[in-house]
């Protein structure tokens, strides 16, 4: 090649900004408008559950007025139920219980599911066989019946209800975790970590698990929603802690009056519907944000 005396300098290639994957994920999330609406609603509900009882200190168990006062009358925004209790106070206090049970049950099922799925997917062989048969056993149990048995046997306290819901709903997490582990453990960077001397525990929880998290997170978000529904189902059937109010319980206790005072059932029903919908929308947004296939390279 001929020598060029005056080869012009190219402008220096710019270094891409160091952006944390989380920042990118947020950008993808924000592009899903429904998810953002869901997130705002969810934040409002959470704020209401945390601070509501302080701002609106009416005791949900107090008889404050005549029973069956329709909403908006006599100064009670949402009216009163069949015992004359303030529905607004019940909804606000019930939000706490519903959210706590939803979150806690999801945590329990994630803990069980991720552990079992990770072990099965990582070790393969007989460990996987055994754990997956165990998982299938839980999958084929009729979930509502099984959780009713647990609550009936061990008492209807909040922790027991949470545990019961967690125990019957971890199987989906286990299956997702396992399949992600099976996929990721074959990728070369896991092999590279092994060649670098990483031990099994590190491979499992520091290398594979973080990369397996996206679908697990999405599933967990949806699980909070279904746990809230599950709790509503249980308390509708009366399997609930009598010392706390929950949305399902409100519906359950007012169900005889559904024709005469439908608002006593529809209002807590709406609360459940809006909360679960918001969680689902957020879960959908998380899916967009964390699913790398949608992300441009």
């Amino acid at each position: 090649m001929t020598e060029t005396p005056q080869m012009p300098e190219m402008p220096e290639e710019s270094i891409p900004k160091v952006r944390h994957p989380a920042a990118e994920a947020w950008e993808m999330f924000a592009r899903n408008h429904a998810a953002v609406v869901g997130l705002i609603v969810l934040i409002l509900i959470t704020l209401g559950a945390v601070f509501g009882p302080m701002l609106y200190p009416t005791d949900p168990f107090d008889m404050v007025w005549a029973p069956f006062s329709p909403p908006g009358q006599e100064g009670f925004l949402l009216g009163t139920d069949y015992l004359g209790r303030d529905l607004l106070a019940m909804i606000i206090n019930g939000a706490r219980v519903s959210l706590i049970i939803g979150l806690a049950a999801a945590v329990v099922s994630i803990f069980i599911g991720v552990t079992i799925g990770a072990l099965a997917g990582f070790y393969r062989g007989w460990v996987e066989e055994a754990l997956m048969r165990f998982t299938e056993f839980f999958q084929v149990l009729p979930t509502l019946l099984f959780s009713m048995v647990i609550v009936a046997l061990f008492g209807a306290s909040l922790p027991m209800i949470t545990l019961a819901i967690g125990i019957v709903s971890w199987t989906a997490v286990a299956r997702i975790t396992r399949s992600e582990f099976l996929r990721i453990r074959e990728l070369e960077y896991v092999m590279a970590s092994r060649a670098s001397g990483a031990k099994n525990m590190k491979l499992m929880f520091r290398v594979i698990l973080p990369n397996a998290l996206p679908p697990i997170i999405v599933q967990s978000a949806l699980m909070v929603g279904s746990a809230i529904l599950f709790e509503a189902g249980l308390s509708f059937l009366g399997l609930t802690d009598p010392n706390v109010v929950s949305w399902g319980q409100i519906i359950g206790s007012n169900r005889q009056y559904i024709l005469d005072a439908s608002y006593t059932v529809t209002i807590p029903g709406l609360a459940i519907f809006i909360t679960v919908l918001a969680i689902s929308l957020v879960g959908d947004g998380l899916n967009d944000a964390l699913n790398p296939k949608l992300r441009q390279r």
Binding site: P16, P21, L187, Y189, A192, S196, G197, A198, K199, P210
Partner: protein, 335 residues
Amino acid sequence: MADETKTPLLKVENLGVRFAVKRGGGFGHKSWLHAVDDVSFTVNRGETLAIVGESGSGKTTAALAVARLVDAWTGHVDLSGHDILAMEGEELRQVRTKVQFIFQDPYSSLNPRQRAEDIVREPLASLTDKSKDEQREIADRLFAAVGLRPEQKRLFPHQFSGGQRQRIGIARALATQPELIICDEPVSALDVAVQAQILNLLKDLQEEFGLTYLFISHDLGVVQHMCDSIAVMYMGKIVEHADRLSLFDNPLHPYTAALLSAVPSVDKARRAHTKRILIPGDPPDPVNLPKGCRFANRCPVAQDICRAEEPELIDRGEGHRIACHLVDDSRQSVL
């Protein structure tokens, strides 16, 4: 390189790797796929041995077994006097500092959630007791050695191009100052123009650090450029093993000859007088290998003996080893 007295660094003897395969559903009986079957070779210090072969030849499996990334079923792997296959626990982790691996796919061989710098110092963190500052210092030097800029240390893998990612992979392999680096198709996932960058880098690093390479590839052009000796594998076996000049000038095993003739070339002279040896058909089922030579069903010159007896890999002089019944010590081409 060539004038130094040759001392073997890696000696592989009768290596075998097999996988259990289930045929016919869950209750079918188990049979074995011998991915690597009775493979022996030596790599001299400071040199490059290539293992070439097509998909299913077992070349990558053999390399993984040497690095203890898959379990060998039988055989010995001796790295400067230590039998790698017999090691366990702490001892094995120490050996890992001596043998490092460069992977094929720069897109899947880097953990997407780690920053470049952390990827490079991972072997140091896992295998040595160097302090974090020392690890970072070494990572800095390696970044420079593989041609990356220091500002790029904090980036995540997806912010690099394929060639740059492969450079990160190379830096990681160099971190513990290994004696042997196994390169598994290090450029086959890269664009052609980028391949040269990486191949030149590998050559430079070899000179600078006195590295020994075990180079796995299917690309005979790359192999011819990079290696001192070449072992050709077919269906789990080495069929021919010779130094670079002998193998390319006088390929003796019919499979090697066919393989060489199949490579398209821009060299007009070569195209004009290379007779293309087309080998018809496909390799046999690796689980139910036929009796005799594994190449016999596609070999243009196969005789009755080839279908009856499996040929051994025999040194036919000057270290040119061939596993073919038809080749004798005169080293005449049989085609």
